[in-house]
């Protein structure tokens, strides 16, 4: 009995010890540490793989281009497993033990939310996410200005969707949406925009993810006798819903959101059944800065850059690295202010890739302003820490995903004015 107890205590101590010793090597000037929290496992894992690779590529480019303040960058990536407690713990560890002044992450808004309230805002560290689009994060002041995102929020996408459905004359639309903050945001903004631009939503059907069948939701949606469908969700559930929708006689006029822009979705439903659909995504503005990223990514990972978050994650880290070079010291408050100086209107344009990064460092060293054009285009944060961006309309043709047309940044800005005023 006594021995058993001692063993137990020893076991606990060893565990604690391994945690302790693991962290004691922190707090040095070189290398500069940047943290990352992403759901490498769990339900988001399929889309996270490319996002993590994109982060890896960004860090590689930063290091090849001269690092941060003369130091090489060490990227410490933690898994949040899509679970809030795990994500908060990982972020807290990065901030308190690894002493990172800034980190990137994460994807699910249910994990990003508690990280902002219990780590980012109280500890005054900069957080830049590639993917969390829940609108309140930047709007209600809870982040203290330390939270940024390189992905246009659901508002941009919802407005763009509404302008496209109006342009195509979609009428009597039923919206089936995933019941998450992303889905409810999209629906709210879409309805607001449709009211101004034309079209009508005749029924709203929320769904909860990971169900084996959505027959009940689809039947409910069809009962409203819709002429078109807007589906807001994720590929796995999207496949099930669209298949059931079509097999129950639903119209082929379907609009989709950004997450469905993957071959998993197209092949899952069967390309020949969805020739009439169109979807939205954040546009990859054409230009050398975009091509440089695409080429580098394809060369390194032997796969294309299609998929949510791939481009925005690269920009999140590039913006962070540039801001850390501009900041007078590597503390959260300095970096926070510097984030707004990576894209100055009279600055010298700099793009993606190690050579452009090196050029940016030289400009910064010379005290000159820069204007960063990233893998998603010009990265300029508004007062809340959000970006607006161009959108693209995609469709399925000959079994492939192709771009139908681009809604430029200027068009988006005009659209925002039209809807909001």
């Amino acid at each position: 009995m006594e021995r058993r107890r001692r063993n137990t205590v020893v076991f606990a101590l060893v565990l604690m010890g391994s945690v302790l010793s693991a962290g004691s090597a922190a707090a040095q000037s070189c290398p500069v540490k940047i943290g990352g929290v992403l759901p490498l496992t769990g339900s988001m894992a399929p889309i996270t793989k490319k996002i993590a690779q994109s982060a890896e590529l960004a860090i590689e480019h930063v290091n090849q281009g001269g690092g941060i303040k003369g130091c090489p960058v060490q990227f410490i990536l933690r898994d949040d497993q899509g679970q809030p407690t795990v994500g908060v713990d990982a972020a807290k560890y990065l901030v308190e033990v690894e002493r990172v002044p800034a980190f990137t992450g994460t994807i699910s808004s249910g994990v990003t939310g508690p990280i902002i309230s219990s780590v980012t805002a109280p500890s005054k560290v900069v957080q830049i996410t590639c993917c969390s689009t829940a609108s309140p994060f930047t709007l209600d002041g809870r982040s203290g200005g330390y939270f940024f995102r390189t992905i246009p929020t659901s508002k941009t996408q919802a407005f763009a969707t509404a302008s496209e459905t109006a342009r195509r004359g979609m009428k009597k639309t039923v919206v089936i949406y995933i019941n998450t903050d992303f889905g409810t945001d999209m629906l709210r903004f879409y309805k607001a925009a449709v009211a101004k631009l034309g079209g009508e939503v005749i029924a709203e059907v929320p769904y909860n993810d990971n169900q084996p069948s959505y027959r009940a939701e689809v039947t409910k949606a069809l009962a409203a006798k819709p002429e078109s469908l807007l589906l807001i969700g994720f590929p796995k559930d999207g496949v099930t819903i669209v298949r059931e929708w079509l097999s129950l006689g639903g119209t082929k006029t379907i609009a989709l959101n950004n997450s469905m822009r993957t071959m998993d979705f197209v092949n899952g439903v069967g390309a020949k059944f969805i020739e009439d659909v169109f979807g939205m995504d954040n546009a990859q503005v054409a230009g050398p800065h975009v091509d440089a990223f695409n080429t580098a990514f394809e060369e390194k990972f032997k796969t294309d850059t299609k998929g949510p978050g791939v481009h925005t994650q690269y920009d999140a880290l590039m913006v962070m690295a540039l801001a850390m070079n501009i900041a007078k010291d590597l503390t959260g408050p300095s970096i926070k202010d510097a984030v707004r100086r990576v894209h100055v209107s009279n600055g010298t344009p700099v793009g993606t890739g190690p050579a452009e990064y090196k050029k940016a460092l030289e400009l910064i060293k010379a005290g000159k302003p820069i204007k960063y054009f990233g893998a998603t285009g010009p990265i300029e944060f508004d007062a809340n820490g959000d970006v607006t961006g161009p959108a693209l309309v995609w469709k399925v043709k000959d079994g492939q995903i192709v771009t139908d047309r681009i809604i430029t940044i200027e068009e988006m800005q005009a659209l925002f004015k039209r809807v909001e005023n």
Partner: protein, 312 residues
């Protein structure tokens, strides 16, 4: 480092309250509650709704002081536990597990869908944290919260110890071991089971209130079924039927969960960081299996109790 350990300890103690509550239900009474997270959620949301700063779009958010929130959370969970217990408590073993699991999933879905009250998927923020305005740094607040947690834990531990040593506690064990025999001795198994269920649920509600007042944010994603699994793993690994075991289990499992992530970042080269997550999950599973292989009754099993009259 210290700041992280304080934070880590706070989380462990909150999870420890949950594990102790489950130990009362499963370890001592044999109630297979597979819906731990549901009661945790009720406590968390009650506290959030009662204490969060008022916002026009929500019907709740009364902005009341922290202690009111905690008491309300416990009261609400006790009531929920009693109502759910009334209809399910007669179910044995796995049947109770299925029923409570269903209840927990329903509660999570209610939280997700009842937007005016719970904020729906957006969650609720600006939740009252005890005396937070007195502390300028997060470390100061966490340290104070840790002290508070230790005091609360000590009180719960002591109270549970007393209760379980009492005749009431012995009846619980008698029911767990042989319900027919306990009934034959004139004890109402149903009443005792219900009482243990409600008491355990109340503690789970308290844990929920403590969790949201520590994190300051609540959303339905905090209450996925995986949390129930984690609490069960803590109890089984630590030692079901032993409160010290339950607490040790909470520490060990959470250390494995968080520590394995640290280990992976130290051992896996950065070029393979994207695969690190999978390695971490494998590591967690492996450690759980090893503990159960070498200590099948848990790290600290239940102590054998022999009547002091045995030699009379």
């Amino acid at each position: 480092m210290l700041a992280y350990l304080v934070f880590f300890a706070c989380i462990v103690l909150i999870l420890g309250v949950l594990t102790l509550a489950l130990n009362l239900q499963w370890g001592f009474t044999g109630l297979f509650n597979a819906g731990v997270v549901g009661f945790y959620a009720i406590g968390a949301y009650t506290h959030a709704i009662v204490t969060a700063a008022p916002q026009p779009q929500y019907v709740g958010n009364f902005g009341l002081p922290w202690p009111v929130g905690v008491l309300a959370a416990m009261a609400a969970t006790a009531l929920a536990g009693w109502l759910i217990g009334l209809v399910t408590i007669r179910l044995r073993g796995d049947y109770l597990a299925i029923a409570t699991f269903g209840v927990a999933v329903s509660i999570q879905l209610v939280a997700l869908n009842w937007e005016p009250l719970t904020g729906g998927p957006q969650g609720l923020t600006r939740i009252s944290r005890p005396l937070a305005q007195l502390f300028e740094t997060p470390f100061g607040f966490n340290l104070w919260f840790l002290g508070l947690m230790i005091a609360i834990m000590a009180a719960i531990y002591w109270a549970l110890d007393r209760v379980l040593m009492s005749p009431w506690g012995r009846v619980l064990k008698a029911i767990r071991e042989d319900e027919t025999a306990a009934v034959a001795l004139g004890k109402s198994a149903r009443r005792f089971r219900l009482e243990a269920f409600v008491l355990g649920s109340t503690l789970m509600g308290l844990a929920g209130a403590l969790y949201v007042s520590f994190i300051g944010f609540v959303s339905p994603y905090d209450f996925l079924p995986i949390v129930t699994f984690q609490i069960w793993a803590m109890l089984i690994v630590g030692g079901s039927g032993n409160n010290r075991g339950a607490l040790l289990g909470a520490l060990v499992i959470w250390a494995i969960w968080a520590g394995s992530g640290v280990l992976v970042t130290k051992l896996v080269p950065p070029s393979h960081a994207a695969q690190g997550g999978a390695i971490q999950v494998i590591l967690i599973g492996l450690l759980l299996m090893l503990v159960l292989l070498f200590r099948p009754r848990g790290l600290i099993g239940e102590a054998a109790v022999v009547s002091r009259h045995v030699n009379d």
